[in-house]
């Protein structure tokens, strides 16, 4: 259906393949990375200042904000599935992803216009989260469809590194703006909107619209047999693919043993007792490590198979938990935990997408990624709730010990579950 048939595309494909071997990634991946970079500046600007804006300017309680935030994160999980499914129908990945980017950009204007009205702010937040949910799976599908299977790890690594660069720049830009304008939150929203709109325009201009243009893979590399009847994607049929099922189960299992960054940061704060005002800087530390290691981790996955970095990343997270239990203190604890958390993200986030791409047929790629991401997110939601409850009931030490045991079991389980030959690894050399 979406086979590369024309001479020009075939030639471009060869060219890309040889470039890939020399260590470059496909043009569309760079374009999507640039779009994500700009968009993440936009969204992280707002994310960084929203708690301050709500509590200081509008007088909402932190509890109310936490409630809104949690509510919308739940909504995102479901919207993601819809976005993946819509993208697969007729290969409208670019259209669906672009719609998501545009919705999030427009939500900044919503924040601006809402003033102090809680209902308006709720609606703007919802629009932002829906946009984010809708766009993620089609975007990851586009990345995977633009890259030869043996370079997927590197492609996702490059994309995630660019994405994280934006995530690092966003809060810095936001706080610089607040500092320069003496707390003019409206200026943050306007600048964020400008970045968001630029991201949409870049997507429209530089990301190819049709899969026939970007698909580089001959059909024989599809592990799922190419069937003309499967042209209309059915998301549920995905679950009948054994390899996909195993990846999904492994991701959900590991997700259910992941206690959530907020808790880790909170534990760090309790152990080290630093001023609460430094709290927003912790995620930046982990993100910097993620940024540096995303590409090496992806390349490693391309070379030796993606299950190894994926599992190793979770072992790093386990190391972080153990470090929090151990009598480490001061800088070694802070740096150790942030480093391990960064390694965890670098070795798992993009790598999981590279891991799953080859086991899902092209025409179901977005749906498959959406199902996987939703499964993982829901599992993590359950884990966070469980950890919170354990913390309250039994105290922090016991809760953390439980998390260590759970994650150890989950890593062992995932090692058994994950397909050993996840890609045509070594096929190029």
């Amino acid at each position: 259906m979406y086979l590369a048939t024309t001479d020009a595309v075939a030639k471009a494909s060869e060219q890309e393949q040889s470039e890939a071997r020399r260590g470059r990634v496909a043009g569309p991946v760079l374009a999507l990375g640039a779009v994500s970079l700009v968009t993440d500046i936009s969204s992280e600007m707002v994310t960084a200042v929203l708690p301050l804006y709500f509590v200081l300017q509008l007088g909402l309680s932190p509890l109310q904000f936490g409630f809104l935030d949690g509510l919308y994160n739940g909504v995102t999980a479901l919207v993601r599935l819809a976005g993946g499914y819509a993208a697969d129908r007729g290969g409208r990945h670019k259209l669906v992803a672009g719609g998501g980017y545009a919705l999030s950009a427009l939500s900044r204007l919503g924040l601006l216009l809402a003033g102090g009205a809680t209902a308006g702010i709720g609606a703007a937040l919802a629009a932002d989260r829906i946009g984010k949910g809708v766009r993620t799976a089609p975007r990851d599908a586009l990345i995977s469809l633009s890259s030869p299977p043996d370079t997927l790890g590197r492609a996702f690594g490059v994309h995630r590194a660019m994405d994280t660069t934006g995530a690092l720049l966003g809060p810095l830009a936001a706080f610089a703006l607040l500092w320069a304008t003496a707390d003019a939150y409206d200026a943050v929203f306007v600048v964020s909107f400008c970045f968001g709109l630029l991201g949409v325009l870049m997507l429209v201009a530089f990301v190819p619209g049709h899969l026939s243009q970007v698909s580089l893979r001959p059909p024989r590399q599809d592990p799922e047999r190419h069937r003309p009847a499967a042209a209309r994607p059915r998301a549920l049929a995905l679950l009948r693919v054994p390899a996909f099922r195993r990846v999904l189960l492994a991701a959900a299992l590991l997700g259910a043993a992941t206690i959530g960054d907020a808790f880790l940061y909170l534990l760090l704060q309790r152990r080290l007792d630093f001023a609460i005002s430094w709290f927003p800087l912790l995620p930046l530390g982990a993100a910097a490590v993620y940024l540096l290691l995303a590409i090496p981790a992806g390349r490693l996955g391309d070379r030796i198979g993606r299950r190894v970095p994926f599992l190793a990343g979770h072992v790093a997270l386990l190391g972080g938990y153990v470090l929090l239990l151990a009598p480490t203190d001061g800088w070694p604890l802070l740096i150790g935990v942030l480093l391990l958390l960064g390694v965890f993200y670098a070795a798992t986030d993009g790598v999981l997408m590279a891991l799953v791409a080859p086991v899902v047929a092209q025409e179901r790629r977005a749906s498959g990624m959406a199902v996987l991401q939703t499964g993982q997110a829901l599992a993590r939601l359950v884990a966070a709730a469980g950890f919170g409850a354990a913390w309250t009931l039994w105290g922090v030490e016991t809760a953390l010990t439980c998390a260590v045991v759970a994650l150890t079991v989950a890593v062992a389980g995932a090692a058994v579950l994950l397909p050993r030959s996840d890609t045509s690894s070594g096929g190029t050399s």
């Binding site: 003496a182 600048v191 970045f195 530089f206 609460i276």
Partner: protein
């Protein structure tokens, strides 16, 4: 970007030009808006030449010159009176005699807060760096003793319970107690120890030694009477928050929790310190503020504003009679300089 086939190549240049042009326009919008916002903010210093004069009601304006201190004559009636704007920029403000206290907050990494001591011309005398969100500010009647409270959390996801840090500054000696939490506290006749004690809303008596404040521990709030010289505090009564001592030092206005939960929880009461009897004010709205006495008969406090205004200042009679009066449209942190 690498062109993939000859056909998109022809349009690639035009697409690059189009996006670059759009980026330039968007950058222009962003920069223009930011510059305007920065201009709007200007400096935090006072722009108009008014000082702390007797017979004036000072407050933080939330409409004209929003965020800055403004003033109206105390005697003037009604809500529409002309205000003098352009004082210093403060989150919270209070003043008495020749001393002003301005709590400021500056964005940045990390955000910083300051308690700024002002002289009788509202010029900066001393600046103390703090962490947290400005919450309460008070100056004793003589202008000597200053106290303020900061919310220690609220700018993070670090849980739902807040904690406070209350400081006391003696402007005569320059002695600063950054966090009064360590003051020996007597509760129910016994010396009380608990890591969760939090103080807020200090109000000083005429002698600049005795003070009243709120202490909260184990989910309950108490009125405490403190003594600076002896450095001790005694809990007198429960369910009292944000006490405010009347000019004649005989009564305390406070907010009392009349409902559980977050919906309309507080009502203003006045407690007679001689009889220890309390009565509610005529104000029926939930007031989350440390009330300020305009004189021995009148209390001022902030309420959420009508018509989209953030806050308005209302007054009620201290004996509980009459009806609340809208005193200043678009204002908070009332302080009458007598």
């Amino acid at each position: 970007m690498k062109p993939q086939s000859p056909s998109p190549l022809s349009s690639l240049r035009s697409r690059v030009v189009a996006v670059a042009a759009a980026a330039a326009v968007l950058a222009g919008v962003a920069v223009t808006y930011t510059l305007q916002a920065a201009e709007r903010a200007e400096s935090a210093d006072a722009t108009s030449e008014f000082g702390l004069d007797r017979g004036k009601l000072y407050f933080r304006s939330t409409t004209e010159a929003a965020g800055r201190v403004a003033r109206v004559p105390v005697s003037e009636d009604g809500g529409g009176g002309a205000r003098t704007t352009g004082g210093p920029s403060c989150e919270r403000f209070y003043a008495a005699a020749g001393t002003g206290l301005c709590l400021q907050r500056r964005a940045g990494i990390p955000p910083k807060s300051y308690a700024v001591v002002l002289d009788d011309r509202l010029r900066e005398k001393r600046r103390i760096a703090l962490t947290g969100i400005p919450n309460r500010a008070r100056v004793s009647a003589s202008g000597r003793m200053l106290s303020w409270t900061m919310f220690a959390t609220g700018d993070s996801y670090a849980g739902s319970s807040f904690s406070t840090r209350t400081s006391i500054l003696d402007t005569r000696t320059g002695y600063l107690i950054k966090n009064m939490e360590e003051i020996p506290l007597t509760l129910d006749g016994r010396r009380y120890h608990s890591p969760d004690v939090n103080y807020w809303g200090v109000t000083f008596a005429k002698d600049d030694n005795r003070f009243y404040a709120t202490v909260s521990t184990k989910g309950k709030t108490y009125l405490v009477r403190g003594d600076m010289a002896k450095w001790s505090a005694t809990a007198l009564r429960s369910n009292v928050e944000c006490p405010s001592l009347s000019p004649d030092n005989t009564r305390i206005a406070f907010k009392k929790r009349v409902r559980k939960g977050t919906r309309d929880p507080w009502r203003l009461y006045v407690l007679d310190l001689r009889t220890m009897r309390e009565h509610p004010l005529a104000e029926r709205h939930s007031v989350d503020d440390q009330a300020a006495w305009l004189d021995d008969d009148t209390l001022a406090y902030a309420l959420p504003g009508a018509d989209g205004r953030k806050q308005d200042i209302w007054t009620s009679r201290a004996d509980g009679s009459g009806d609340p009066v809208l005193r200043v449209r678009g204002g908070s942190s009332p302080a009458a300089v007598r």
